[in-house]
């Protein structure tokens, strides 16, 4: 317990507190920090220009989350339906890309989506002669990159409850007259929602703060909050504003995590509470 606390304090609490403190000072004229108290930085976060970037980041992260959850759940479902002894093998392959470097995986997408990249070449080979499609440096490319990078998390998160599901529940549903689709909607899906929620929160939180993928696949001018923070610290040299942006981002992430934790807690808490009633 104690070493963990020291670790957490040194690596999480202290840096966060420092960044938080920074956000309350002014930017110095030559880029340094002027140690006079102000709330301006937080006001600036709500400036339409920056609020817009927050919204755009949330939209991109949300879209990536939705796509990752649909694909990831389908993949997890297929794996859990495979013969038992093959499941670890399929899982291994599903998670395999995850073992390579994040940057390399993202560069691979550049090779794919480039104007003269693999996809264009494939189209040419199929007889397409027009302008090469512009795929790289678009919002779509960023979303594809995010989905691809975080998909393994969703697969793992959804596989856990799916593989634990008693197959007789689905059979009981069929036996009682439900079609396969109704069985999925009313029995399988509700019982695996915790996995979906965990996977979704994971993708969303990691996507909304991501700056590598938008920088590489979205091109120089494409900005998400992560890029904005990066710029403030390393290019604009406005550390206090960068800190305020970072704090706003952390606040959003914490909010999402808290909502999920509360929902999960309420689900299990309700069960425990009624169980108590039953025993009493």
């Amino acid at each position: 317990m104690a070493p963990a606390l020291v670790w957490l304090t040194a690596l999480m609490v202290v840096p966060c507190a420092l960044v938080l403190a920074l956000a309350f000072f002014r930017r110095g004229i030559y880029g340094g920090i002027d140690y006079t108290f102000t709330l301006e930085n937080f006001g600036l976060v709500f400036d339409p220009l920056y609020a817009g970037i927050f919204l755009k980041s949330a939209r991109i992260a949300g879209t990536a989350t939705l796509i990752a959850v649909v694909i990831g759940y389908a993949a997890a479902y297929a794996i859990s339906a495979a013969p038992r002894r093959w499941q670890p093998v399929f899982l291994f392959f599903a998670v395999l890309p995850f073992w390579s470097n994040y940057l390399i995986r993202t560069y691979a997408w550049i090779v794919l989506l480039n104007r003269e990249g693999l996809i264009t070449q494939l189209l040419r080979w199929l007889g397409y002669t027009g302008e090469p499609p512009s795929m790289l440096y678009t919002e779509g490319a960023v979303i594809a990159g995010l989905v691809y990078n975080y998909l393994p998390f969703v697969i793992l998160a959804c596989y856990a409850p799916l593989s634990r599901l008693n197959p007789e529940l689905a059979e009981a549903s069929r036996d009682l007259g439900a079609s396969a689709a109704t069985t999925f909607r009313r029995v399988i899906l509700p019982l695996t929602v915790p996995g979906i929620a965990a996977g979704a929160v994971f993708v969303f939180v990691l996507s909304i703060g991501n700056f590598v993928t938008p920088a590489l696949l979205g091109g120089g001018r494409f900005q998400m909050i992560g890029n904005l923070v990066y710029d403030q610290f390393l290019t604009a040299n406005d550390w206090p504003f960068g800190a305020a942006l970072a704090m706003a981002l952390i606040a959003i992430m914490l909010l999402v995590l808290m909502v999920q934790a509360l929902a999960a807690d309420r689900a299990s808490g309700r069960a425990a509470q009624t169980k108590g009633d039953a025993d009493g």
Partner: protein, 357 residues
């Protein structure tokens, strides 16, 4: 009384899983409104047969006729057959009421009718106080009743029950056996129950089938199977039996020590062939009269009171295993025996069953 109508005909049904033959050419008729038991040792194919009736497995061979129509290929949600699962398979995220309503919602019945039918079945199964609970808040016996209510509320032609009492303790089992029988009578639905507990099937079933290694050994009333087992395996599996190994003769079996056991020899058994004579513990008398056909002496090795009767283990020269003898408490009081006593045992030729070894 008119001839009972056949509801379900299982016609030469087989099921292979790869190289394993789980069910091997079984033919059975199940009659309207009967309580039918499938009995057999673990792995004999009971669950597989039941799953074919419910529609979860397709027979590799043979036909399953419900009211004369072949349903072997009908999906489970289109059969007027319901299965009560060995694990109950209650939906953990739904209340008792929602679990029970589910099947009727699938039939798209009006909400009012669903409500009244669910209320009625909850009352019959004494689940009204638990209607709003989740399955995890129920005891084993209550869960079992929910599973039963959920299947019964659909008013199936045929209700299949896979070891419905397996998870219950002995005392509750006894109560639930009677309860199931009462319910079956009340709702007038044909029940096919799977069990590997021979006592359970004797108590509950109108008729029963004994399976082994995927094959049907015997199908009859519990009484007929108990009194006239088809072969040595059935004789051993159903109830308790004392076996005397030996060789068949014209009028009985000659035991290893040369003693002659009188009894009716089946026609298929040629004199001199290996055979066993057998007799039920309750058919053996202590200190029999002189004219009793089969008699032997033995030493009491152990005795145990079972309330109504006294069970003796008696070592005899007839067989390597001690005889099990059941004496009524009354008889035991009249002529007390103790461990180590020499006793005389006797039984009638009519109570002897002889099988090929």
């Amino acid at each position: 009384m008119s001839e009972p109508r056949t509801l379900l005909a299982i016609d030469h049904v087989s099921k292979n899983f790869g190289r394993v033959t789980a069910v091997d050419g079984i033919s059975l008729d199940i009659r309207e409104n009967e309580f039918f038991a499938l009995l057999g040792p673990s792995g004999c194919g009971k669950t597989t047969l039941l799953r074919m009736l419910a529609g979860f497995e397709m027979p590799s061979d043979g036909r399953i006729l419900l009211d004369g129509k072949d349903i072997a290929r009908t999906p489970p949600n289109k059969r007027p057959v319901n299965l009560m699962f060995q694990s109950y398979a209650l939906f953990p995220h739904m209340s008792v009421r929602a679990n029970v309503s589910y099947g009727l919602e699938m039939e798209r019945l009006p909400a009012k009718e669903i409500r009244s039918r669910v209320d009625a079945i909850l009352a019959t199964t004494e689940l009204v106080p638990f209607a709003d609970r989740k399955p995890e808040q129920l005891s084993g016996g209550q869960k079992q009743r929910v599973a039963l209510a959920r299947a019964l509320v659909k008013r199936p032609r045929l209700l299949l029950l896979d070891e419905p009492l397996g998870a219950l303790d002995k005392k509750l089992r006894g109560a639930m056996q009677l309860e199931l029988k009462r319910l079956q009578h009340e709702v007038g639905i044909t029940f096919v129950i799977v069990t590997h507990d021979q006592e359970e099937s004797l108590v509950m079933a109108d008729r029963m089938a004994v399976l082994k290694d995927g094959r049907l050994l015997q199908c009859d009333t519990p009484h007929a199977i108990y009194e006239h087992p088809a072969d040595r395996f059935v004789a051993d599996f159903i109830g308790v039996m004392n076996f005397i190994p030996g060789k068949a003769s014209a009028d009985g079996v000659v035991a290893a020590n040369g003693a002659r056991i009188a009894g009716k020899v089946p026609a298929a058994l040629t004199p001199g062939a290996s055979a066993v004579a057998s007799v039920r513990p309750e058919r053996i008398r202590l200190f029999p009269s002189a004219e009793t056909a089969n008699r032997t002496t033995g030493t009491v090795e152990a005795l145990a009171y079972h309330g109504l009767d006294l069970q003796l283990h008696v070592r005899t020269p007839l067989s390597p295993k001690p005889f099990l003898v059941r004496v009524t408490a009354d008889a035991a009081d009249r002529r007390p025996v103790a461990s180590g006593d020499q006793v005389e045992l006797g039984w009638d030729a009519a109570d002897v069953r002889i099988f090929a070894e």
